[in-house]
């Protein structure tokens, strides 16, 4: 059993399992959406005094904190006990493209280890990607009212037009970054 789960999953299985997660949350009376956690944390540390956006009872959303704590635990379990240590089966075109951008051994881990290092936080590239990227995730998801889970999965599933517009936005930003910005940033 463990051996079967430890293999890389086919995308169709993964898609089904995401719906299982969404269904369980719906039947537990909640909606699948992770980025609102940023707002709840801001509310919990008392920013309600600074902006009405954070002025509400964050404890009503405690379930999301349990869910997130679980997802950290799930990540730890999957990356150790359910890890077959095999490289990711990336397409050859992606591997070639990333090698040209000075990424060594694409696919060997889940992310480029050199880039995701503490040292890299002290480089211009690292500051742009992680501090700048993080800021845009927090600002953009709350501005748009959702992220991949809230808009792309839940919102589209519920045939929400604002979600479709948001997903188009996700792709405008993502495509510009991958095709235009990253080739510049990764060579800094």
């Amino acid at each position: 059993m463990i051996d079967i789960i430890s293999q890389p999953w086919h995308w169709a299985i993964s898609g089904v399992m995401i719906v299982v997660v969404m269904a369980l949350l719906l039947f537990l009376g909640q909606r699948f959406g992770v980025s609102s956690s940023f707002r709840h944390v801001c509310s919990a540390v008392g920013f309600g005094k600074n902006a009405s956006y954070f002025d509400y009872n964050w404890k009503d959303h405690l379930w999301l904190m349990y869910f997130i704590f679980g997802s950290i635990v799930g990540g730890a379990i999957a990356s150790t006990l359910l890890n077959d240590q095999e490289p990711i089966q990336l397409s050859l075109a992606t591997i070639e493209h990333l090698k040209e951008l000075n990424i060594s051994h694409p696919g060997e881990a889940q992310y480029p280890i050199d880039l995701f290092s503490i040292e890299s936080l002290f480089t211009i590239k690292g500051i742009i990607l992680f501090i700048g990227g993080g800021f845009l995730i927090g600002f953009g998801t709350r501005y748009a009212g959702g992220c991949t889970s809230g808009h792309a999965i839940s919102g589209l599933s519920n045939l929400q037009l604002p979600s479709l517009v948001a997903v188009i936005g996700f792709f405008i930003g993502g495509l510009l970054t991958t095709h235009v910005l990253l080739p510049i940033i990764l060579n800094l």
């Binding site: 801001c42 936080l121 953009g140 839940s154 519920n158």
Partner: protein, 138 residues
């Protein structure tokens, strides 16, 4: 089972699914935006198609939650300017870090401690949004 323990368990399942699906992989996100593989599109496509069926089933059959209350799904506010501008800004961040909010937390569990900085930056981004919200088009 206490309610919070249920959410914790579903969270653990989510962490495993995100990892084994490789949706948390910076490489898979680049591959998606490069249109080099069906992988991420397949995951999202299957999830959305089955998700539509799930939502229709819940609505048409008026299904109850595990606690016996009717399941209500709140509509997203029709703030299209916010959707497109906020969505685009998030898209930049998604491709830069290779992670959206769910995977950010899952990656913490992988021991990718750089992610703590990304999460703190995201919290700061949300804080700034909260402060200037009234001055932004929605």
């Amino acid at each position: 089972m206490p309610k919070n323990l249920s959410f914790l368990s579903v969270g653990i399942l989510f962490g495993v699914v995100m990892t084994k699906s490789e949706a948390i992989s910076w490489y898979r996100i680049q591959e998606m935006f490069l249109f080099h593989s069906i992988h991420m599109y397949g995951i999202i496509g299957v999830a959305v198609v089955l998700g539509i069926l799930l939502h229709q089933l819940i609505k048409r059959r008026k299904l109850n939650s595990f606690f016996g209350v009717p399941i209500t799904i709140k509509a997203k506010p029709e703030t299209y300017k916010a959707s497109i501008i906020g969505g685009t800004l998030f898209g930049f961040g998604w491709a830069m870090t290779g992670a959206c909010p769910g995977p950010l937390y899952v990656l913490l569990g992988h021991g990718a401690f750089v992610i703590i900085i990304v999460i703190i930056s995201a919290l700061f981004g949300t804080y700034v949004y909260g402060i200037i919200r009234d001055r932004l088009p929605h």
